[in-house]
Amino acid sequence: MKIFKKLLPFLAIIIVWQLLCRLKLLNEYLLPSPFEILKAGAALAKTGELFLDLFESVKRVLAGFIAASFFGLILGALSGYGRRFSDALLPVCEFLRPIPPIAWIPLAILWFGLGDRPAYFIVFVGAFFPIFINSYWGIRESRLMHLNVARNFGAGPLIVLTDVLLPGSLPRILHGLRIGLGLGWTSVISAELVGAQSGLGYMIQANRIMLKTENIIVGMITIGIAGLLMNQLMLLLEKRLSPGRGDTIRAAE
């Protein structure tokens, strides 16, 4: 019932859209009918082309995301823990953060050529900052709020880390990872629009040149669904890994 309620607006849009196409009120080259798009999607799925492109994009986003998580978590946690690190890293990050990942594409192509590597890099740029900033705030907040309690009970450094700082900052860190993955996904598509020969971004761009509008839209829908699924997966992880809280941070969004 709940899922039906969520699908209802989509259904309404599709029906109106199909009707408009039927009445020839829309130019089919600019916006093909839902039925045509469905047909194109089925064809692309049948040949497997669609999944190949999806696989390429997912592979790139995962590679860039894992690298961004590694560096973002470590540097963010260090900055949250020690003034020396935050003094060194925060100003640089605050400067680089507003530069959108797309703006790095020219440099990325110069540095890495075409193909996977510039895409990895662009994903890294997109995912790193939310992961870094949220790890920084997470560790910093739990240090300020809970470190004194831990020290008061005479907890050693290991217990402070495993029982206080890490679990205390986990919801925020997971939140950062989720936002990072989302930004990484939009970044990989932008990177593929110009700097790749495969992937969903490349696929929609190539279909524009061939004027296959229905394929462009199939690609866009696939991008949307994949992004949605990744976000839901990360949300599930957040819920699982932060008992008793999780909700507080999502509620504050």
């Binding site: 709020m145 809970h146 004194n148 309690v149 831990a150 020290r151 008061n152 009970f153 005479g154 907890a155 050693g156 217990i159 029982d163 206080v164 679990p167 205390g168 986990l170 932060s242 008992p243 008793g244 809280r245 909700d247 507080t248």
Partner: protein
């Protein structure tokens, strides 16, 4: 048990002219097993006082002795119960209460048993596996008290422990703190701005003045024990409360 001699603390940078004396030559002594309160308006340096005795903050001058030894840093013989953010919200009540025991190195089975005992002592049995986010403010503070008591500290330092509770809950918790203190005979130092609370619970009340924070007077509370809620209506209680509020008003 706790002895402060001419303790001074300034905040801010004196070279920038922004220095502000938080504590100025504060001296007093708390006896073993005593319930001692520091009463003063907000911003008078009460929290600084707690932080210094707990060892989180170093005084600029003066000396703090605990059990005859100078305080050098935080340790579990002086446990602080804060106004808020006491509990780890990712731990259940049971593992919160057991945290100090874990830090102490007590084996898991034994700390579970001990933690349960103290949970029962504060009447939270049945809530062992609940996370703090689903507890009321009063229950949270009771859990924090259980965690403090569980490590068997020499004294408990309470920083406005009931400050974030509504008045009904405050009265209820006052009775609980009283009962806990009578049962365990721990030395308790509480800072508060609530006159009634200080008079009701304490053996002695130190009046603190603002900017710079200093102890103006220490008033013994000679209301016989055991005390229950009805004491608050008695003439002696009202007179003491009146006397203390006059003295505090005279300051501001």
């Amino acid at each position: 048990m706790i002895r402060l001699t001419k303790v001074c603390k300034t905040y801010g940078d004196p070279s920038e002219g922004g220095a502000r004396a938080a504590l100025s030559a504060v001296s007093f002594e708390i006896k073993k097993g005593e319930f001692f309160s520091v009463l003063g308006p907000s911003g008078c340096g009460k929290t600084t006082l707690i932080n210094i005795i707990a060892g989180f903050v170093k005084p600029e001058a003066g000396e703090v002795l605990f059990d005859g030894k100078p305080v050098r840093g935080p340790w579990r013989d002086r446990i602080v119960v804060f106004q808020e953010h006491n509990l780890f919200d990712w731990k259940t009540v049971l593992s919160n209460v057991a945290f100090g025991l874990k830090a102490k190195g007590m084996p898991a089975a034994e700390r579970g048993r001990t933690a349960r005992e103290f949970i029962e002592l504060v009447h939270l049995s049945g809530f062992e596996n609940v996370y703090p986010s689903s507890l009321s403010g009063g229950m949270k503070q009771r859990a924090a008290l259980a965690r403090a008591m569980a490590v068997d500290p020499g004294c408990i330092l309470m920083d406005e422990p009931l400050g974030s509770l509504d008045s009904q809950m405050r009265e209820k918790l006052q009775l609980e703190i009283m009962a806990l203190w009578e049962k365990t005979k721990k030395t308790i130092l509480m800072v508060t701005h609530d006159i009634e609370e200080a008079v009701f619970l304490s053996d002695r009340v130190a009046l603190m003045s603002k900017a710079p924070g200093r102890i103006k007077q220490i008033v013994p509370i000679d209301i016989p024990r055991p005390r229950d809620a009805s004491v608050k209506a008695s003439a002696g209680f009202q007179a003491l409360k009146h006397e203390l509020s006059e003295k505090i008003m005279a300051d501001s």
